[in-house]
Symmetry: C2
Amino acid sequence: MPERELKALRAVMRREGASLCLVPSEDAHGSEYPAAYFAAREFLSGFTGSAGTLALSEDWAGLWTDARYFLQAERQLAGTGITLYRMGEPGVPSLEEELAARLPEGGVLAFDGRVVDRRLGERLEELAGRKGGAVLLKDLPGEIWQGRPPLPCGPVREQPLDLAGESRTSKLSRIRERMKEEGADLHVVTALDETAWILNLRGSDVPCNPVFLSDLVIGMEEAWLFLREPEAWRGTLEAEGIHVLDYGKFYERLPELCRGKAVLADSKKASMAVWDALGMARRLVDRPDPAVLMKAVKNEAEIAGMRKAHRKDGAALVKFLHWLKTHVGKEPVTELSAAAKLEQFRKEQQGYLEPSFETISAYGAHGAVVHYAPTEETDTPLEPEGFFLVDSGGQYREGTTDVTRTVALGPLTDRQKKHFTAVLKGMLALGSARFLEGCRGVNLDYLAREHLWAMGLDYKHGTGHGVGCFLNVHEEGGSFRWRQPPESEVLRPGMVISDEPGVYLAEEYGIRTENLLLCRAAEENEYGRFLEFEFLTLVPIDLEAVAWEDMGPEDIRRLDRYHREVYEKLAGCLEEEERLWLEQVTEPVGKNLQKTI
Amino acid sequence: MPERELKALRAVMRREGASLCLVPSEDAHGSEYPAAYFAAREFLSGFTGSAGTLALSEDWAGLWTDARYFLQAERQLAGTGITLYRMGEPGVPSLEEELAARLPEGGVLAFDGRVVDRRLGERLEELAGRKGGAVLLKDLPGEIWQGRPPLPCGPVREQPLDLAGESRTSKLSRIRERMKEEGADLHVVTALDETAWILNLRGSDVPCNPVFLSDLVIGMEEAWLFLREPEAWRGTLEAEGIHVLDYGKFYERLPELCRGKAVLADSKKASMAVWDALGMARRLVDRPDPAVLMKAVKNEAEIAGMRKAHRKDGAALVKFLHWLKTHVGKEPVTELSAAAKLEQFRKEQQGYLEPSFETISAYGAHGAVVHYAPTEETDTPLEPEGFFLVDSGGQYREGTTDVTRTVALGPLTDRQKKHFTAVLKGMLALGSARFLEGCRGVNLDYLAREHLWAMGLDYKHGTGHGVGCFLNVHEEGGSFRWRQPPESEVLRPGMVISDEPGVYLAEEYGIRTENLLLCRAAEENEYGRFLEFEFLTLVPIDLEAVAWEDMGPEDIRRLDRYHREVYEKLAGCLEEEERLWLEQVTEPVGKNLQKTI
C-alpha cells in the first residue's frame, strides 16, 4: 500500500522541486494525541506507533522511531521499502544527520510548517542553508491524500462557572496583566488545553483530552478565537470582546494580527508556521505562556471538583478491585475484559465522560512494559498468582483522575513483596512531605526513590506529572523529576501532581503505585510558608502484597492514615458488600502489628 | 582616629580628581580571611567586622554592613561621622544606589581594582558611565596608610607526594588537558587554595587556611608563579617548567602574558584588575577554573589522609567531651576556657597545626548566634544545664576537619530534646543516603531538613559546604543546598562535604550537629552507578539529649551503626579512662530500647 502513496508524493515533490520531504506525527498544537487528520506519517508508511518520523527522497525512504516501537515498526514496514532507523542504537544516524547527508547541494527540504516545531524547523533550515539549499513549508502529503480524515469538529461546551471557578473575563484580564508586565500587547496561544482553560470551554476533538481544535490570539482589548464552527459561539463570545473566526483562517490572519505588535509567545512551543507569522511582530517577547502556570494552580472550585471526581473514581476503583479479587481464578478474566469492567464501573458514576488516557491493564510480565496497553493480539488471561497492574483515569465534568494500583492476584514471592513495599513506602513518603515554599519537584523526588535506590533499583521515568482539571491528564506546571531542568516551576498550593514510583523487571513483572497529590498551604511562621500534600486519589493499597518486616512505624502510620481517609470518604458511595470489603481491606494494621511483635 | 585618616584620604581624592572612593574588605584572591595588609576599610573606619564596605566623598562617608554587625558597627562608628547603612533593612539604600545618587555629573569613582570583583566593578563602571563619569582603579588608601601591615610572607612548604597523592606535573598536565578541550592556551589562577593544591605547596599567610600569597599563570608548556619570596622556590620549580617571579610583579606581567592568547579564566572570580589585563587576550574562555572540581574530588592518598586526620581529631574531641562532662559544674569553665582546652587536646595530636577556622564555643543563647565566637567581653561560664554548642576544626598535615557537637551540660527540657533529635535524625539521614550518580546536593538537602520542616522549624544556612584536604575548610565544589544554583556540581566519589543541620531559637539556645561526609561509589548495575557517603567525622553524639520517642527503628540503627564505628576506630587512640567513657556513651541503644517497649 505505501508504495502507491509514496510514488504519488514523490511526483508532487518533483513538481515542487523538493529533494527531501519530512513527515512527522505531530499536530499543529503540540497535542499528546493528534487527530487522524494529522496522521500523514501513518498514511504514508503504514506504521501506526505514536512516535515516529518519516523522511523520503526520490530513491530512499526512512522512518525513525524509538525502542518501544522497534518490533511493531519492523513488522509494519516490511515490504514497503522504507528503512527503519532504530533511534538510540549505536551506529544509527539521527534524522538530522541522515537528512544532511542526503540533501544535495542547493536542494529543497519540504515539510508542513504547522506540525514541525520551531526548534527542529530552524535546525532544518540551517542544515539546508549549509548546502546552499532551502526549506519549503508546505503540506505535500495533503495534496495526494485521498480520503484524508476530516478535521474533527466535536461540539464545544461551556464549563460552568461553578466548576471553572473563574470567568474567562477574569482569566483574560489576568493574562493581560502579565502581558503588560512583559511589555507585550498581543499573545498567541496554540496549545489546545490552554485555550480550553482560558475560555472555560471544553470539546471532544482529541480522544481522552476534552479539548477542541482552536487557536487563540489575545490583544489588550479584544481577542480572536479560531474555531472549527465559529457560528455556534459567535453570539456569546463577541459580546465579551472575543471575535470568533474560522479555524482554517488562523495562518492567514495571524501575520496581520502580529504586524507592529509586541507579541508574547513561547519559542519552545511555536510551530515553524507560527514562528514565520511572528516575523511580522514589532518585537517578540519570548516567555512561557502565562496560562500554563495559572492553569497548573487550581482554584477553590477546581479543587472541590477534583476532590469530587476522585471520590467517584475511588468508588469505581473499589468496586473494580472487589470484583477482581472475587472473580479472578473463578471465571475467565483477561487484561482487556478487566479494563472493560473497570470502564463499566466508571460509567456508572455520574458525570463520567471518558477515560483520561488509554488504560494500562497489564498482567505479569506485561506490567514491566511501562506504556503497555493490551490489544486483541497481546491480551492475556489473569491467573490467580502474581501481579496485575492497572493504570487508568477518568474524565469527569468536575475533574480528571489518574491512578495506578498493582494487585496481588494470588501468591507472591518475597522479592515481589519487597519490591511492592519499597514502591509503596516511596509513594507514601512523597505524599507526606512538608516543605518550605520555594521547593521544586527536584527537592522531593528522592523521597519516592529512596527505598528503591537503597536496594539498587530505579525506575526510568519521572516520578510525577501535572494533571489538569477536566483537562489533559498530562499537563505542564509542577512535576517531580530528580534531574529537573533549572527552569522548572516551584511547587505552589493548588498544583495537582502525580506521585508514581515503580519497579520494572523485564520479562518478570512490573509494579507501580500512583496517587494524585494536591499541594496545599500548611503553617506559616517566621521561617516562611510551609506546604504539604493531600492525597486526592482514594483507592486502597493491596495489603496482601506488603512485606511487613520492611514497613517502619512511620510507614505504617502513613498507610493507616491514608486507608482511614479512603474508607471515610468512600463508605457512603458503596453498596453494603463493597463497603464491608473496603472496611476489611483498609483496617488499620498498626495495632495488629504491635501485638504480633 | 578615623577623622585624620579620612581627611588625608580626601586630600588624595582631590589630587586624583576622584569625587567618590570605595573601600571594600576583600583581598586580591577572594579569600575568606584577608590578611591585615588588605584591611583598609578597618584602618579608615575603625570598624572591625568581617564584612562591610566603606565609601566616601568630600563631605560624606557611609559604611554598609549586614545584620550580624549592626550593633558592633554602631559602637565602632560612633563619633566618626561615618553613617551606618544597615543592609537589608527597609528603606536603606544599597551601596550602588547611594553611589549613583552621590556621584556628580562627570565625576570619578575610585577604588582598588585588585580587591573589587569584576561583577561589582563593571556595575560601578556602568553607574559612572551613566553620569558621563569614569572609574579610577587605584589604591588611594594605600597612599596615606602609614604603618600599613606588610604583606604576609610565611614559609612555603612542600605537601609531600604521599599525602598529596598526585604530583604537580600530573595536576598541571590534567589542567592543560582541560585547557585544550576548551580551546585555551593560557589559564590565570588567583584563588590561593587552587594554587596551593595545584603545586602541592602549603603556606601560612592566612590564619586557619594553609595557603600563601600567590598568583599562577599556566601556559601549555610553561607556567609562572608569583610568590612573596621567589628565590626560595626558584630552583625546584624552574626545573619543572614553572618560572618563579615576585608576587608584586603580577599585575605588571599579566597583560603581556595574556597578549594574543586564548585565556581560560572565571569571570565570576576575576578582580577588576585581572579583568583589565585579560583585555589583552586574543579570546577569553570564561569557564570555571578546572582546579576547582579536581580539588573537590579527593584522590586515594587525600582520602586516606582525611580519614587519618579525622581519627586524630575524633580522639581529641572525645578527650574534650569527656573532660567537659566531668568538669562542668565542678570547676569554673567558660566558653573561652573550654575552647582553649579543646585546642590543647588537638595540639596533643601529631601533625596538628592550627584550627581550620575560629572556634565557635557557645553556651545557651549564644548557640543561637550562627557565627558566634566568644570574646573576652561575651565570654560566659558554662552551667550544668542546657546546651553547649562547639563548632571547630583542625588543620593536620594529612587533612582538614570540621565538626559540631551540641552537648547537654545538665537537665534539658522536652522541647530541647525534641529539637536535638530532629537535627540528629536529619544529619544521620543525609549521611545514610544512597543515590544514583548525577544527583546534586539539591536532590538530598531535604533529608537534613525533613524532621525540622515537619515541626515548622528551619535553619537559615546551607546544609553543607565542601572541605579541602589540608586546605580551606570552606571549599567550592560539592555542597548541600535546597535552593541550589543550577550550575552546582553533581556529587562525585571523593568529594568531602559537611552535613550540618541546626535549630536556632534567638535568646534561647542553638543546636547543630555536623559530620563531614565522604562521597564514595557503591553498587553499579543496569540502572547506573550508585553512590553513598562515609562519615569521616568520628565523635560521639550526646545520647543524654535524645528524645527517644522520636527515634524510629531506622534512626536508631543509623545511630548505633555510627557509634560502633566511632568506638572501633577511636578505642586504640585513647587512655583507658576515656576509652571506657567512650564505650559507655556509644553503647548500642537499639537492644535496650526494644527491651523497654
